[in-house]
């Protein structure tokens, strides 16, 4: 069982064409990292969640997430587009960093889920968000997210 978040879970300098392409890329990463079990299933679950309401947090951050039967183990993926990408409704600003939260479709009792919850709580911390949005260093992203998971 691998970690919730590793350096391999970070991809910088991406130049994809739109939001759908990024959701597709997240899916591909999940498959390559052994997090997802079925590409189409993961992709559709991410897209369907966006239909509820877009996961644009403002401040240049999007958090596409899903609790899916096609996810094997909880994981965080972080993607940085080269140029800002539009994230659907109520977007006044483009997205500079994408933090994807993937979880198995299960309830309770999993310490990994508590890590994800810790990260989510940090996503209302302005300083934390600013640092994440502004950095281009893989190591800094890794440390920031890792600390947030264990905060």
């Amino acid at each position: 069982m691998s970690e919730v978040f590793t350096r391999q879970h970070i991809k910088l300098n991406l130049a994809l064409k739109d939001k759908d392409a990024y959701l597709g890329y997240i899916t591909k990463m999940a498959m390559e990292l052994g997090i997802g079990t079925e590409e189409q299933g993961v992709y559709e679950d991410l897209v369907n969640r966006e239909k509820d309401f877009a996961t644009n947090l403002g401040d240049g951050i999007a958090i596409p997430h899903t609790k899916s039967e096609y996810i094997l183990k909880p994981a965080i993926l972080v993607l940085k587009p080269q140029t800002e990408v539009s994230w659907g409704d109520n977007t006044e600003d483009g997205i500079k960093i994408i933090i994807s939260i993937l979880s198995r479709n299960e309830q309770g009792g999993n310490t990994h889920l508590e890590l994800l919850a810790s990260l989510a709580r940090k996503l209302v911390d302005e300083e934390f968000k600013k640092k994440l949005v502004n950095t281009l260093q893989e190591e800094e992203i890794f440390v920031l997210i890792e600390q947030a998971l264990h905060s």
Partner: protein
């Protein structure tokens, strides 16, 4: 003794907005001088569950939910302020102030 503010947060996946809303409310309430307790019903189960005593003693009860949470019967007969998850994440202090103004009327 500080006034008590309690909240219940729950979103469809229970992965992100539940916890963002909980943390936003907690921070804002502390800043505004409240004694605060926030229950989350997320993917990791029910955390920090609100007791009958919490509910009885609360000056302000907030529900920031986008799904029907468990244990709603606990709040029967109470004045509950329902707020949007995104709204309270963006502007927690403003949301609590609005509730205070409403209560003052």
């Amino acid at each position: 003794m500080a006034k008590k503010l309690i909240a219940l947060c729950a979103c469809p996946m229970g992965l992100a907005h539940t916890f963002m809303a909980a943390e936003a409310i907690r921070k804002a309430a502390v800043e505004m001088g409240y004694n605060v307790k926030v229950e989350t019903q997320g993917a990791d189960g029910i955390k920090n569950e609100l007791t009958a005593a919490d509910i009885r003693d609360a000056e302000i009860i907030i529900h920031a939910v986008a799904v029907t949470p468990l244990g709603m019967e606990r709040f029967e007969g109470c004045e509950v302020y329902e707020v949007g998850l995104q709204e309270v994440i963006k502007n927690p202090i403003g949301t609590i102030k609005e509730i205070e103004e409403d209560l003052a009327q």
